[in-house]
């Protein structure tokens, strides 16, 4: 009986692998051929599309914008989500379960509907603006719809629930007794936080930050709708390039660069985190 479990897995693996490799290979291979539009490709191998990506400011600017927005969202979301996850993880009542279930429920409601709500809140005639005008904070309506800052808020909304759930799991693995021990030995609350909780949760925090960052790098719906066709992140650019311009080879090139850059940023971050970890261990 024991020997057969890997055979049970085989059909699923073959099917998933076939879909993954076939789709990615056929699509990304196109980035190495000349783009003749309307889905047609040249026959000679060329790096022309990649050269174009690096020399045309549309693409480079979009790459920089996407990376910058994603990094901003990762930092802001983590700073806001961490205290929530900490409070939920240390809550002793059953309310923590209810609050977590509420996040799960909110996470799985169709993103277009949540974006619709965000646009209503942040539009120039929306509730937030009317309140701000009434309070005299602003003299004329301001809006973040169609602005990079709006996309940041939209992506924060998209990733906040995941971040709280992931950080909750991380903080739950830190025994409460460690905090109590530090407190009994006279450590101030803030010192307990800085010297016990933060260092122990750091690996999980870095993983969560990277997951949020990756989600943002690939996020399409909120960037396209809140960006209002004015904020060109790479996923929006891919859709435009393929659907509006029918340039599949260029779309494949942007996709390849997006995935490669995301992967490299992840690997470099993990390497830096590991290096910092070993430095800290040496100096401690």
């Amino acid at each position: 009986m024991r020997a057969r479990w890997h055979l049970i897995l085989a059909p699923s693996l073959v099917l998933s692998l076939a879909l993954l490799l076939a789709s990615q290979f056929i699509f990304l291979r196109g980035s190495f051929f000349k783009d003749l539009r309307l889905g047609r490709l040249g026959t000679e191998f060329t790096l022309e599309n990649y050269v174009r990506f690096l020399t045309d400011s549309i693409y480079v600017d979009s790459l920089i914008l996407t990376t910058r927005l994603s990094a901003t969202v990762a930092i802001l979301t983590l700073l806001l989500a961490y205290p929530v996850a900490y409070i939920l993880a240390r809550m002793t009542s059953r309310w923590s379960m209810v609050l977590l279930a509420a996040i799960v429920a909110a996470s799985f409601i169709t993103i277009v509907i949540k974006v619709l709500g965000l646009i209503i809140i942040f539009s120039s005639g929306g509730a937030l603006n009317q309140t701000l005008l009434w309070l005299g904070v602003v003299t004329k309506p301001v809006t973040i719809v169609g602005q990079p800052s709006g996309v940041v808020v939209g992506l924060m909304h998209f990733t906040m629930g995941f971040a709280v759930l992931l950080l909750y799991g991380v903080i739950r693995t830190i025994p409460r007794s460690l905090e109590d021990a530090a407190t009994i030995h006279g450590a101030q609350r803030w010192r307990v936080f800085k010297r016990v909780i933060v260092p122990l949760s750091l690996p999980g925090v870095i993983v969560t930050a990277l997951i949020v960052f990756n989600l943002c790098m690939g996020a399409f719906t909120s960037a396209a709708l809140i960006g209002g066709g004015k904020v060109y992140t790479l996923p929006v650019l891919i859709q435009q390039t393929v659907i509006m311009q029918t340039r599949y080879a260029m779309g494949a090139t942007i996709s390849a660069v997006l995935m490669a850059v995301t992967l490299i940023i992840n690997l470099v971050s993990i390497a830096i985190a590991a290096w910092l970890g070993s430095v800290r261990r040496l100096t401690a």
């Binding site: 879909l19 409070i87 429920a105 949540k114 974006v115």
Partner: protein, 278 residues
């Protein structure tokens, strides 16, 4: 006294922080539901609603209901297919020991790592390629959408079933086998009932992932096979109408009811644990 004061101050700040984040998470939903009851005959939106009315509920376009039907059929089929792929995959990943297991696990997670837009375009290209070879074009067809959405959603089933299997007590199976049950009977009568909460949870997540997907549907659906979320996306881009708020309200309450029903069936803890792990 001052220690107590600082503790209660910390409590207040903490509670306010949590309340603020929950307000941020739920405000868009509250606003959509609230604005859908606004009776003003305007094309721009009002929240809080100025005079309550069900005006927009009577003006939902019939093709939105048609798109909703497509999405429900698509999500249900994709969720079932994701279970057919995901349950054996999870059993193999948790129970078998073989070289390269981490790599296989990573391959099963790949649909979560690839940006959905890229999955959409690459399946479009794949379908064109298959069409050129066989003459059968899956672009714009329901089967084409089902295959792509199954690919997109299968990691969620694998994640939630694996989470349950990892806590599975193998003694239960050993007991059944030693009492003379065949391996198949043991699986059907012992293993399957225990992992069912994970299967239900994974299937529901798979359904909701399919239902909420925009980028893949945008590339693969067309005309009468355009799924609901992609349709809403187009309407928001080009042709906004407040009746969207009315149908969005139905979807919000429908999704919440679905999650609540699942929570009743599998328990809050299973719901959260498998949700966080995927």
């Amino acid at each position: 006294m001052s220690a107590q004061l600082s503790r209660s101050l910390r409590g207040i700040v903490g509670a306010a922080w949590v309340a603020g984040i929950y307000a941020f998470l739920f405000a868009p939903l509250v606003v959509v539901v609230g604005a859908s009851f606004d009776g003003g005959d305007r094309t721009f939106l009002n929240f809080p609603p100025s005079n309550l009315s069900l005006h927009w509920y009577g003006r939902i376009e019939p093709d939105l209901f048609q798109a909703l039907g497509v999405s429900v059929a698509l999500g249900t089929t994709a969720a079932l297919a994701a279970c057919l792929i995901g349950v054996p995959a999870a059993l193999g990943l948790v129970r078998a020991e073989f070289r390269g297991k981490a790599l296989v696990a990573a391959l099963f997670r790949a649909p979560l790592q690839i940006p959905a837009v890229v999955i959409g375009v690459s399946f479009l290209k794949l379908y064109y390629f298959v069409g050129d070879v066989t003459g059968l074009y899956a672009v714009g067809s329901l089967p084409g959408l089902i295959v792509a959405h199954t690919f997109l959603a299968s990691p969620y089933v694998i994640g939630s079933v694996s989470a349950v299997l990892q806590r599975f007590n193998m003694r239960l199976e050993e007991a059944a086998l030693s009492l003379g049950a065949s391996p198949w009977t043991t699986f059907r009568r012992v293993t399957l009932p225990v992992i069912m909460p994970g299967v239900y949870t994974g299937a529901m997540y798979a359904f909701l992932v399919s239902f909420g997907d925009v980028p893949v549907s945008l590339f693969l659906g067309a005309g009468s096979t355009q799924p609901f979320a992609a349709k809403i996306f187009h309407l928001m881009e080009f042709d906004f109408d407040p009746s969207l708020l009315a149908i969005a309200t139905f979807i919000i309450f429908g999704s919440l009811a679905l999650i609540y029903a699942l929570q009743r069936a599998v328990g809050m803890e299973a719901l959260i644990r498998s949700g966080g792990s995927s």
